[in-house]
């Protein structure tokens, strides 16, 4: 709770709490004695605050809204706005905690796939406004021997995000936003989503489990050899083909050699 040491603070304290009592001797209806009472006047501001922020969340989470219906979504979003209002005026940064809120939102507990769909939509928004970086082609790997290549780490475009879910998160997202035909989905079917934006258009790809393992390891800073090893432990894995796909999808912006030895990695190469 903050102290309403200022008139602004006193009004701020009313905005997210519909039951907060309006203090005496702070403001009045109007110089000309407008007929609407103070509660209605404050309600205009309370309403603008909550509706505009719920609208912002609805714009960020259209698939979630489609899965729950607008009534349910707006009720959930209203609770979220009141418990987690924005910390700054850039609304493209608002709502990243909404998936975690849905995780713990009892009325949504039967829709256990919902938080991951929300995570995918958040990754989409982050990718939409991510920095512009030119992807590189696979030929940056050329001219190296196998051992050299194996010791490389890749740098990824800032839009790239990987989401591994126990639910068919890409299919749910694509079907509810009209990007693909509705099918009878098995909601227990795991899917991994890759979000990327090589140029202007955000792309969402469905990854095979071993491809997701490979990419997760590379995103965590592992070498190509370590990432391939992790992927092969799960499934047949065609390293050259998988590597080519990463480049073709415009995910990679550079590469560097891993430090040879973790205990002596301060030496210049």
């Amino acid at each position: 709770m903050q102290q309403p040491a200022s008139p602004q603070g006193a009004l701020a304290g009313l905005l997210l709490d519909p039951d907060a009592a309006i203090p005496d001797a702070l403001f009045h209806a109007g110089d000309g004695g407008g007929a609407a009472d103070l509660t209605r006047r404050v309600a205009v501001h309370r309403n603008t605050v909550v509706v505009s922020l719920v609208d912002a969340l609805a714009a960020t989470y259209p698939a979630v809204q489609s899965l729950t219906g607008a009534r349910f979504f707006r009720a959930a979003a209203r609770e979220f706005v009141r418990s987690s209002p924005p910390r700054g005026p850039v609304l493209a940064q608002y709502g990243g905690d909404f998936p975690a809120f849905l995780d713990a939102f009892p009325p949504a507990s039967s829709l256990d796939y919902l938080p991951d769909v929300a995570r995918l939509e958040w990754a989409w928004l982050r990718a939409y406004g991510a920095a512009d970086v030119q992807p590189v082609a696979a030929r940056i790997l050329g001219g190296r021997d196998a051992a050299d290549t194996a010791a490389l780490c890749l740098r990824f475009h800032p839009a790239v995000a990987l989401l591994r879910s126990h639910h068919p998160v890409v299919s749910l997202w694509a079907e509810t936003t009209g990007r693909s035909e509705r099918t009878g989905l098995d909601l227990r079917m795991p899917e991994a989503a890759l979000v990327a934006r090589p140029d202007l258009v955000v792309q969402v790809h469905r990854l095979r489990p071993s491809s997701a393992t490979f990419l997760a390891a590379l995103l965590a800073g592992r070498t190509l050899a370590m990432a391939a090893e992790a992927a092969m432990a799960e499934q047949d894995f065609d390293l050259p083909a998988e590597l080519a796909e990463l480049f073709d999808a415009g995910l990679v912006t550079g590469c560097h050699r891993a430090a040879r030895d973790d205990t002596h990695n301060g030496a210049p190469s």
Partner: protein
């Protein structure tokens, strides 16, 4: 009367509109009859991608106004330095023809409320706002415009009428003013004053830009979430009805008439049709701008009462 020199900016003395991405193709690929465009800089405070691509294309083709909603010039404290830095970077990158903000606040105590909220009009507020405007102008190294807000409440502590407050602010800081005529109409209805008397007192010599927008009639906002009523274009409601600055429909006729009155006194000024919610197709928005343009060129009450 505005001369050829406009020290506050280089927007043309003509009609402009809000720039919304759903209209980007119409505006950027056609030959738009609209002379200039306005954006909220907060919508472009991302690292890259489509927002910057579109704004860059717009900036290359048209005069641009950046109209902030997040700086809280009317707040209890100083503007957030992080937000001020972001705004400065955007202004440096796009070099807009005009930069404006509001006599209002939207954040307090680390929370952003996404609304333009009122402040008391007294000497202490005036000093605070003047210091904030000065800090903004120093950061941007250029004068800014400050807009009169739409109001629903009056603070008991207020001692200075709004037009005097704004005149004094302009005098102390060297800022210009942005006169939002819909806000005058909405506030006059809600607070209970005569919009003509307000405009007679308004320091028009400082006005560098005019805003026009549609308003809604408040449908008794007692529920947790209520949308403004559709249909009523304002002005004809019961005495008790509040008007809400909704930016979601055409400009109301009484607001057009006030605009014609103001233009008759000021001469042509950059005049914006602001439309932020329930966006129309581009032809409808462009037609609103064309109506403003006719009034600017002296068709006056004929176009205002069309």
């Amino acid at each position: 009367m505005p001369g050829d020199e406009m020290p506050f900016g280089t927007l043309p003395a003509a009609a402009g509109t809000s720039f919304k991405h759903i209209h980007a193709r119409d505006i950027l690929e056609g030959r738009s009859p609209v002379a200039w465009f306005e954006v909220h800089p907060e919508n472009y405070m991302v690292d890259g991608g489509e927002p910057h691509r579109l704004l860059g294309a717009l900036r290359a083709a048209y005069p641009l106004s950046m109209h902030g909603v997040g700086l809280s010039l009317g707040g209890a404290g100083r503007p957030c330095p992080i937000h001020l830095d972001r705004l400065r970077a955007l202004v440096q990158r796009y070099e807009p023809d005009s930069v404006s903000e509001h006599l209002a606040w939207s954040g307090h105590g680390g929370i952003f409320y996404n609304d333009l909220l009122p402040l008391p009009y007294d000497e202490a507020s005036l000093r605070r706002v003047a210091a904030n405007v000065q800090e903004l102008q120093d950061a941007l190294k250029r004068p800014v415009l400050v807009e009169n807000p739409s109001r629903y409440l009056s603070f008991d502590a207020s001692t200075i009428p709004e037009p005097c407050f704004l005149a004094e602010l302009a005098q102390r800081t060297g800022c210009g003013l942005l006169l939002d005529i819909n806000n005058v109409y909405v506030s006059a209805n809600n607070i209970g004053f005569d919009p003509l008397a307000y405009l007679a007192d308004f320091p028009l010599r400082y006005v560098e830009e005019i805003h026009l927008a549609g308003h809604a009639q408040d449908s008794c906002a007692t529920d947790a979430e209520t949308r403004p009523a559709r249909g009523g274009s304002g002005g004809g409601g019961s005495a008790a009805a509040l008007l809400v600055d909704a930016h979601d429909r055409p400009v109301a006729d009484p607001v057009w008439r006030l605009f014609a009155d103001v233009v008759a006194r000021t001469g042509r000024l950059p005049s914006l049709i602001e439309w932020d919610n329930d966006l129309p197709g581009w032809p409808e928005l462009a037609a609103e701008a064309a109506r403003a343009e006719r009034i600017l060129w002296g068709e006056g009450r004929d176009a205002a009462t069309r």
